[in-house]
């Protein structure tokens, strides 16, 4: 199971039986629109607050993923989820609706892979038949929490990222068909002393590099062993920094080293440095990347979701931003 220092190998290779991605209007205008199961034309989703809309996004993604797996919610043993709002209310309130045994996670934007890694561990150890795991974020609720309310209209510097309005959910199972989760590398917290919440990409890049290198070291692999290595979400500022750091450490970053935060929106969409948010890497992985795996276009991918573990309070107290990244290997076998 434990391979090397911080990597799990899943010998039973849990299946991703189904997955679902739900997005907002802005995501619907992006290049990955066809990979979303449900797209909403209105960021309110018919709710009376953005926080309620975020919960609705997550509920729909969970329902859709369970339905696509041909299961009922009673068939799910555990629900592993997280989001970016205080006390992860979107996840807990979704768990209330689902009434499935629940483990709430917080890894900021790395939650998507934290949940998938732990879900695979649970299924791999025969502790569950089916596990539901996912993450969600909503532009208007998360920007309000971590930066400024969008209505405030504060100027953003060119390094700032745009929180995606999206939810991504996957159903893991012991038996079935679909891409399989074969390994996961749990990251450590890396803090290079950056404290600007408008430049999370640069803060998170060293954490992504740390986890990627640990993964390669533990499994004796390189970039060549993967058809795609995707971080989420370093965006336009963070990805080149990660590439530079990898190069300095002797890993030449290839063209198939990409970032979820640069995939979800098109070049014509004004998202500054790119996308961010727990829902971004979740929706890109569980929508676009899994669809490509299912079509056979990709054989083995490594998703490295990165999280900035700051809180509004730690920012006000002028703390730097501790960051983390978790990597999960998904492959067609």
């Amino acid at each position: 199971m434990l391979h090397g220092h911080q990597t799990w190998e899943f010998h039973n290779k849990p299946y991703i039986l189904s997955s679902a991605a739900v997005g907002g209007p802005f995501e619907g205008k992006g290049p990955l629109a066809n990979d979303f199961d449900i797209l909403h034309g209105d960021t309110w989703l018919g709710q009376d607050s953005f926080e309620k809309a975020e919960k609705k996004l997550f509920e729909q993604a969970c329902e859709k993923a369970i339905e696509k797996a041909g299961l009922k919610k009673e068939d799910i043993q555990f629900f592993l989820a997280g989001d970016l709002l205080n006390q992860i209310i979107s996840s807990s309130f979704t768990a209330r609706t689902l009434s499935v045994p629940y483990l709430g996670l917080f890894g900021a934007c790395s939650t998507s892979m934290e949940a998938l890694a732990l879900g695979a561990l649970i299924v791999n150890s025969h502790s569950a038949e089916h596990v539901l795991c996912g993450a969600v974020s909503h532009n208007s609720s998360v920007e309000k929490q971590f930066r400024y309310p969008t209505e405030y209209g504060g100027q953003k510097p060119p390094t700032a990222q745009w929180t995606a309005t999206a939810a991504g959910v996957a159903v893991l199972g012991k038996t079935g068909t679909g891409p399989r989760v074969t390994a996961a590398t749990i990251g450590r917290v890396v803090d290079m002393g950056l404290s600007d919440p408008f430049n999370m990409g640069a803060a998170m890049a060293p954490a992504a590099v740390d986890t990627i290198e640990a993964h390669f070291r533990d499994l004796g692999r390189t970039f060549d062993d993967y058809d795609l290595v995707a971080t989420g979400d370093l965006a336009k500022v963070g990805l080149p920094i990660a590439k530079d750091l990898l190069e300095k450490h002797g890993f030449k970053a290839p063209d198939h080293f990409v970032d979820c935060g640069m995939m979800i929106y098109g070049k014509d969409q004004p998202v500054i440095a790119g996308a961010s948010g727990a829902g971004c890497s979740a929706a890109v992985t569980y929508g676009h990347i899994l669809n490509r795996l299912r079509r056979g276009e990709l054989k083995r991918v490594l998703i490295v979701a990165t999280g900035a573990l700051l809180s509004p309070l730690s920012f006000q107290q002028k703390e730097s931003i501790p960051c983390i990244a978790h990597g999960v290997v998904i492959e067609n076998i």
Partner: protein, 117 residues
Amino acid sequence: MQIYFWAFVVGGLICVIGQLLFDVAKLTPAHTMSTLVVAGAILDGFGLYEPLIDFAGAGATVPITSFGNALVHGAMAEAEQHGLVGIITGIFEVTSAGISAAIIFGFLASLVFKPKG
């Protein structure tokens, strides 16, 4: 015609200072705004803001620094008539129209509009 030119230059320069406070000094939007208000108040305290208005017109009255100027201006005018108490009562003497308008129009707008997010 000259007043238009100087209004443009002076008003623009005040905004450049704000942008520099924001980008270079890394102040938050609220700190940037407060700093400009305080700067306007201090300038008027030294009697320097009125000449700037005479020189640049709307270039000096439209930016937020003019609000600081108005706060001090009202306080000093009232202080001349009523002494120390005038400082307290006078602060909102000149600015009351602007503050009340912000509250009333803000309220009206909130009844009609819903943020798009």
